[in-house]
C-alpha cells in the first residue's frame, strides 16, 4: 500500500503549489467585486439612508417589511414570475420549433437563422426604444393595423391592461432567437444513426421527435430554461425605455422597481433591500436547479 501512496502524494504537492499560485488572485477578485458589495448591500438594507455620508438611521428589518407590504413591489414580483412563465411557455417552444425547421441544411436556413438571431444581438435599450415607436398610438404600425380594421388608435404602452403584454411580446421577440441557436447546436450534435435506425424500425416522425430528439436535447433544454429564468429575473434595461415601469407601476420588474424606488428616490437602503431579495431569489433558484435538474451535467 505504502508504495502506491507516494506517487499520488507527489501529485498532490504539485496540485497544492498550483492551487496556491492560482487560487488567491481569483478569491481576491471574487471577494472584492462580489462578496464585499453583497455584504455592503445587505448592511445598507438595514438603514434609512439617502446615499450621502455614512448610514446611521438604523431600521433593522423594516425596509424588508415595507417592501413586502408594498403593492407595487408585489406587482413587480408577480411580473417577474409571469415573464418566466411566458418565456418558458412561448419563447422556448417557439425557439425549438424554429430550430427544428432551420437545423437542416435547407435552402435559406442559414439566412433565416441569422434573421431570427439578430434581435438578440441588439442592445436591450435599443429594442425598448424601437418598440416604444412600434406600439405608439399616433405613429406606430400596431395602432395603424388596428385602425385599418376600423378600431380607435391603440396606445398599448399607456394602457394598464395591455402594457405588460407589449413587454412580453418584446421579450419573446428579442430572446427566442438565442434559444433557437442553443437548440440548433443541440440538434446538430445528435447522432444521425439514431434516426436512421428508428426509421428502419418504422417509427413515425412524431415518435422520432418524442423518443430521440427530446431526450437527446434534454441537456440543452435544461440550460435554456435556466438562462430564460435568470434572464427574466434580471430584466431591466428593456423595461426602462419601453414603459419605465408604468403606467401606474404595472410593468415593473424587481430590478426596475429597485431603480425607480431605490436609486432615483435616493433611498439607497430600501433599494439595497430589493437587491438582497432579488439575490436570494436568484441564488435559491440557481442552487435548486443545479442540484435537481442539471446534476448530470
Amino acid at each position: 500500500m505504502s508504495g502506491v501512496v507516494i506517487r499520488p502524494g507527489r501529485r498532490d504537492a504539485g496540485a497544492l503549489v498550483t492551487a496556491l499560485i492560482f487560487v488567491p488572485p481569483a478569491v481576491l477578485l471574487f471577494t472584492i467585486f462580489v462578496i464585499l458589495p453583497l455584504g455592503e448591500a445587505a448592511w445598507f438594507s438595514l438603514f434609512n439612508w439617502n446615499g450621502l455620508g455614512w448610514p446611521h438611521i438604523f431600521l433593522g428589518l423594516e425596509n424588508y417589511a415595507r417592501l413586502f407590504n408594498n403593492d407595487d413591489f408585489q406587482t413587480a414580483f408577480i411580473n417577474n414570475l409571469l415573464i418566466i412563465v411566458f418565456s418558458i411557455a412561448i419563447q422556448l417552444p417557439l425557439g425549438l420549433g424554429m430550430a427544428l425547421l432551420l437545423a437542416r441544411r435547407a435552402w435559406g436556413a442559414v439566412a433565416f437563422r441569422l434573421i431570427f438571431f439578430l434581435p438578440y444581438v441588439l442592445a436591450d435599450v435599443a429594442a425598448g426604444l424601437i418598440f416604444r415607436f412600434i406600439f405608439d398610438g399616433n405613429y406606430g404600425p400596431v395602432s395603424a393595423v388596428v385602425q385599418a380594421f376600423g378600431g380607435q388608435p391603440l396606445f398599448m404602452l399607456a394602457s394598464p391592461s395591455l402594457a405588460f403584454t407589449a413587454l412580453i411580446i418584446v421579450v419573446v421577440w428579442k430572446y427566442f432567437g438565442f434559444h433557437m441557436m442553443l437548440y440548433i447546436a443541440g440538434l446538430q450534435g445528435i447522432d444521425r444513426q439514431l434516426y436512421e435506425a428508428a426509421e428502419i424500425d418504422g417509427a413515425t416522425a412524431f415518435q422520432r421527435f418524442r423518443s430521440i430528439t427530446i431526450p437527446q436535447l434534454a441537456p440543452m433544454i435544461k440550460l435554456s430554461v435556466f438562462f430564460s429564468v435568470i434572464g427574466a429575473l434580471q430584466l431591466f434595461d428593456m423595461v426602462i425605455p419601453l414603459t419605465g415601469g408604468g403606467p401606474f407601476e404595472q410593468t415593473n420588474t424587481m430590478v426596475s422597481f429597485m431603480y425607480n424606488f431605490g436609486i432615483t428616490r435616493m433611498r439607497v437602503g430600501y433599494g439595497s433591500a430589493v437587491g438582497v431579495v432579488l439575490f436570494i431569489v436568484c441564488v435559491t433558484f440557481a442552487l435548486f436547479y443545479q442540484r435537481f435538474l442539471m446534476r448530470d451535467e
Binding site: 439617502n50 450621502l52 455620508g53 388608435p153 403606467p247 435616493m266
Partner: protein
Amino acid sequence: MFKTMIGAVSIAAMMAAGPVAAEANTVIKIVHVETNPTEIALWNRIASDYEKLHPGVTVKFQYLENEAYKAKLPTMLQSRDRPAIIYSWGGGVMRAQIAAGYIRPLGPEGQAVMAKMIPADAHAYEVNGKDYGLPFLTSEVAFFYNKKLFAKAGVDASQIKTWDDFLAAVKKIKAAGIIPISVGGGEKWPMHFYWAYLAMREGGANVVQQAETGKDGGFDSKPFIEAGQRLQELSALHPFQPGYVGTMALQAAGQFGDGKSAMQLMGNWLLSTQATSSTSGKGLPDSDLGIFGFPTIAGTPGRETDQLGGVNGWLITKDAPPQAEDFLAFFFQPKYQEQAAAEGDYIPALKGMTSYIKDPIVRQIADSLENATALQIFFDQDLGPSVGRVVNDVSVAVAADQMTPKAAARQVESAWKDAQQ
C-alpha cells in the same frame, strides 16, 4: 487574469502619480447638465477669459446627461475626485447634500454677488440662515397656448382668470374638435405641475412650508385633497391627448409644436422644446404662441402672482480650491449675464437683466417673475426625490382616476414622514 492584475496595478500607480502632476495647476472642475449650444459657448468663453487673467488656473466645464448626473452625483461627492462646483436645482437634494457636509457656505465674495440676485432666487439657496450657492437661472411654469387654435375654438385667453373660466375654455376647445391639452404623463413630473399649482391656489403660496410643519395633518390636509379633486374636475372633461399616461415630455412638447393640441402647462423651456421636438423642427412661430398664468380659484388664498418655477444654480463643494468662489463671482458679471439674456439662453437670476431679453414671450415671463408675490420651487425638487417622486406618481394616478384625492394626499404625507426620520 494576470493581465487584469497588471492593468489594475498600473492604474493604481497612475492614480498615485496623478495629484503630483496636478499641483502645478489649479483645476476648477464644474459639472452641469445644460445642452443649449449658445449657452455652453458663453460659459466656455467666460472660462477662457478667467484663465487669461489668472495664469495657473484651469476651468473645466464637464457635461453629464440629466438622469446620469442625478444618479452619479452622490458617488462623485463622496470620491476624492469631487468636482469643485456642481449644478443644482436647489430644494431637498441640495439640503441633503448640505446636511451630509459636502457643500461649503458662501464666503464674503459670494455673498456680495448674492446681494445682487432677485430676492426670491437668493432665498431658494438659503438654508438655516446661510447662503449655500449662487442661482443663475429662473424658470416659471405657465400655460402656453396656440393662438390659432384658440381663435378657431372661439376662446379668448385673456379672459381666463379663474379655474371655472379655464374649465369652460377646455370644454369649448374640446367641442371644436381640438385636443385641449397635451401632457407628458409618462414621465409624471409634467402632471405634478397641475397638482402643485392647484394646492398653491387652495392653500396659499406657503402651503408646502405649512404642510412641512405637520399642521392640520401636513400634506394630508384640505388644500392638497382639494387640489386632487380639482384635478379630477379637469380630467373628467378628457382634456388630454389620447394615451397621455404613456407620453414622454418631449413627445408632448412636439405635439404642441405641431399644432395638435391647444395648450400645455410647462416651464418656459417649452419655447425651445416645442420647436426642436416638432416634426418640422421649427414648431409654432412666435406669432402663434401665447401665454397665460395658472388661474385662481374663487374663495381661496392663492394669488395669480404666486408662481411655481425653478431656480437652478451652482454649489461649491467642500475642499474646493479658493478660486472656485472667485470664478463664480467672475461668472456673474453683468456683461456675461446680459449676453445670456440677450441670446435667450435663460432668464438670469441676477437683478436688472430683464431689459436685455429680446424674445417678447420670455420677456413676459421674466416680468411676471420679477412681480411674483411668491416663487415656489417645483414640488418634486423642493421636497427632495423620496417625497417628490411620490408627488409625481400620485398626480398622474389622481388625474387618471386610479387613486382618490384623499389617498394621494395621505401617500405624500406618509412619504414626507418617512423622509423626516
